[in-house]
Amino acid sequence: MANKFGNSYGLTTLCPLINGHQQHTSFDKITRHRIQLLEENSGSPFARIPDTYFARLFILNDVFFEQGNNVARDHLQSKYLVFTSNFHGDLEPYLQGMWNNAEADVRHIWQYAVAFDKVQNAADFIRYIKRCQLTTTLFFNGSTDDSLQQQLKSLYVKQAFTEFALQHQGKPVAELRAAFKTFMQQLQIDNIETPSWQPGQTQL
């Protein structure tokens, strides 16, 4: 019963939307349209939010399940904006980073969420998200819990080193060694920021 697995965090939130509409369009529709139009990959607001491994937004309109005998018919009274994220680190700094780096997007996305009009700053936002948060029952990490920068740097290193190793197969040791030295200088393996892959990058 934990949101954390090592240094990785699984955030699950259900943010109720206001029942109502504006100019013939209900708030959940407006919200859905807005999140569907968000840019993807490196253009996504989440690409700017530090340490986000994966994130998603969707509208939960209702609950559904199989028909049949002896089952009750449940329906939700509100529609929910479901925001979930897998990230590195702790919740508060993460949400702080979210507010600092994507405040305009956050305001745009959550505009019609219940009680979001009271959110004025990062502290309010953190409080708000915590009120919408559900505790994860089982969190499974099948990857690593390194910082995102570390993961991206490792991927960059894997790509670059693999190419280096292929290019230098069978080379005389002096040549290999000199090339390796230059390669490691360019790679800057201890510099986690650069050169590296960019968050959401879709091309090598």
Binding site: T162, E163, L166, Q167, Q169
Partner: protein, 518 residues
């Protein structure tokens, strides 16, 4: 899985249960039909039915009595367009799986048919509207093939234009043929099981419950049990209307009789760039620590000359020893030594009956070698007892391989001459079996923890540095793995489609026009 009831082999088309090549049919002709008028087309089919070869048991290939075996076989399959042209009801048509309804051309993105393999570059027979039916004739001799073909041609003439042959197969010297001839490759006048790159091919087809094959063929061909034994795969993995490995009936069209004892088949003309292949191997062999044959074996997982698996003989020395043992046993057995004959059989059984359990690193058979990709033999269970059964991830991805090489008879094989393999495979789900293997295991390697590496021989490689294959080593020996970089496109797709092979009852009902899902 035990069979509750024997299969009705007389209702199942023969090519499903038998690889004809193994039964002494080294020659084949494949041709494709168009139906123009469905009453006439159905009349044609009714006349064709007596020629269709069923899976009825024959005596084994080395049995002296040849009388129960025909000189030639005939089998038929239909595309979705073909079934539609035959007037099958909408409801029956809609029950076929999506990938079959779409056809192979529209699955190019899944199959990796891009660049030189792009459907726009396929033989003319595949351009435009889809063909309607596939007919195959296998023969014990070329003459037997031609005789049977003439017989069918007469039926076509009698149909008065209701059914025609769609021509347009690229043949020798730039010709266009009305059919696709195929033949085993001959060496010194003798049939070999080789393809044009020089590999022994077609070893290790799956064994399923009720297939009618000799049970001694089960080890290495079935599914693995926890105690390292082998069981037949469920019939429903290969034939519709029977329970499969998920303990259910495969997805099939209505009514039941339309699907029962039928199945799906992939037909693919795979051109082999023989010059490119030979040049690549020659160039790489100069850097490789081992013989040219070993390098070729490290691509495929089997020694090219006799198909011995690398797990059995992982290097040149071991291969020489194996060859010697094989020669001695063969000589003794020929001289009437029964013990030697038994030992020889036991040794040859190891060609098929093996796993990669003791080769986790791939230092014997590389993890990305062709046979380790196409048939993973429980190698994906990298932690013991992690899965329901050792081969749980493999059992639903098995392919019944059929088909023969083509070309190479009239001209010296080069890139621009016509030779390759007519690849055919059979299974109850094209998507779950063939397409998955092609996409995830041939053209991708995540399941093998090898990133985006592709199969050397049939992968969609493009000659880039990172189009590569890793020949792994035993890390304890302190030697680096060998990288085969800049892999070129060895094999190109030149055409093909997905076919439904109905059972005999269904074929008769299609021909009568009485398929009714009401």
């Amino acid at each position: 899985m035990t069979m509750d009831r024997a299969l009705d082999l007389y209702d199942i088309q023969g090519n499903i249960c038998k690889g004809y090549g193994r039964f002494g049919f080294p020659k084949a002709r494949y041709f494709f039909l168009e139906f123009h008028q469905y009453a006439g087309a159905r009349a044609f089919l009714q006349q064709l039915i007596p020629l269709i070869t069923t899976a009825e048991p024959w005596s084994e290939k080395d049995h002296p009595d040849q009388s129960d075996k025909p000189q030639a076989t005939t089998n038929i399959g239909f595309t979705y367009a073909g079934l539609s042209a035959l007037g099958l009801p909408r409801r029956s048509l809609d029950g076929f799986p999506l990938e079959f309804r779409m056809g192979m051309k529209n699955r190019a993105g899944i199959l990796g048919d891009e660049g030189p393999s792009d459907p726009a570059n396929w033989d003319p027979v595949w351009q435009g509207e889809p063909v309607h039916a596939w007919l195959s004739v296998n023969g014990q001799s070329r003459q037997a093939v031609v005789d049977r073909y003439r017989q069918i041609e007469q039926l076509l003439q009698q149909s008065q234009g209701s059914v025609t042959i769609r021509p347009g197969h690229k043949g020798p010297q730039g010709s266009l043929q009305p059919w696709q001839d195929a033949s085993a490759v001959y060496e010194n006048g003798r049939v070999t099981p080789k393809e044009h790159f020089g590999y022994v091919d077609g070893i290790g087809n799956p064994y399923f419950a009720g297939c009618g094959n000799d049970p001694s063929r089960l080890p290495g061909r079935g599914k693995l049990t926890r105690d390292d034994g082998w069981q037949p795969l469920a019939t429903g993995e290969f034939i519709l209307g029977h329970i499969d490995e998920a303990r259910e009936y495969p997805i099939a069209p209505e009514p039941h009789l339309l699907a029962l004892n039928g199945t799906f088949m992939v037909y693919r003309k795979l051109h082999e760039n023989v010059t490119t292949f030979n040049r690549y191997v020659d160039r790489l062999a100069t850097d490789f620590d081992g013989s040219r044959e070993l390098l070729m074996a490290k691509f495929s997982g089997r020694w090219p000359d006799n198909g011995a698996p690398l797990v059995l003989a992982p290097d040149d020395a071991a291969k020489a020893e194996l060859d010697q043992q094989l020669a001695q046993l063969t000589a003794k057995a020929a001289a009437g030594d029964h013990t030697a004959a038994t030992e020889l059989r036991a040794l040859k059984a190891k060609w098929i009956d093996f796993t990669y359990n003791k080769d986790r690193h791939g230092s014997r058979c590389p993890i990305g070698a062709h046979i380790r990709r196409a048939n993973t033999r429980a190698a994906l269970e990298t932690e013991k007892d992690a899965f329901n059964t050792p081969s749980a991830l493999d059992d639903r991805r098995r392919l019944l391989r059929r088909g023969l090489p083509y070309g190479g008879e009239d001209e010296t094989p080069a890139d621009d001459t016509e030779q390759g393999i007519i690849f055919m495979c059979i299974g109850a789900s094209l998507e779950r079996q063939f397409e998955f293997v092609q996409q995830q295991w041939i053209n991708y390697s995540n399941d093998f923890h090898l990133g985006n590496d592709r199969d050397v021989l049939i992968g969609a490689n493009n000659g880039q540095l990172t189009d590569k294959h890793i020949i792994q080593v035993n890390p304890k020996q302190g030697k680096a793995p060998f990288f085969c970089t800049h892999l070129p496109r060895m094999v190109e797709t030149r055409g093909g489609d997905y076919f439904f092979l109905p059972g005999i009852t269904a074929l008769r009902m299609i021909a009568q026009g009485i398929i009714d899902p009401t």
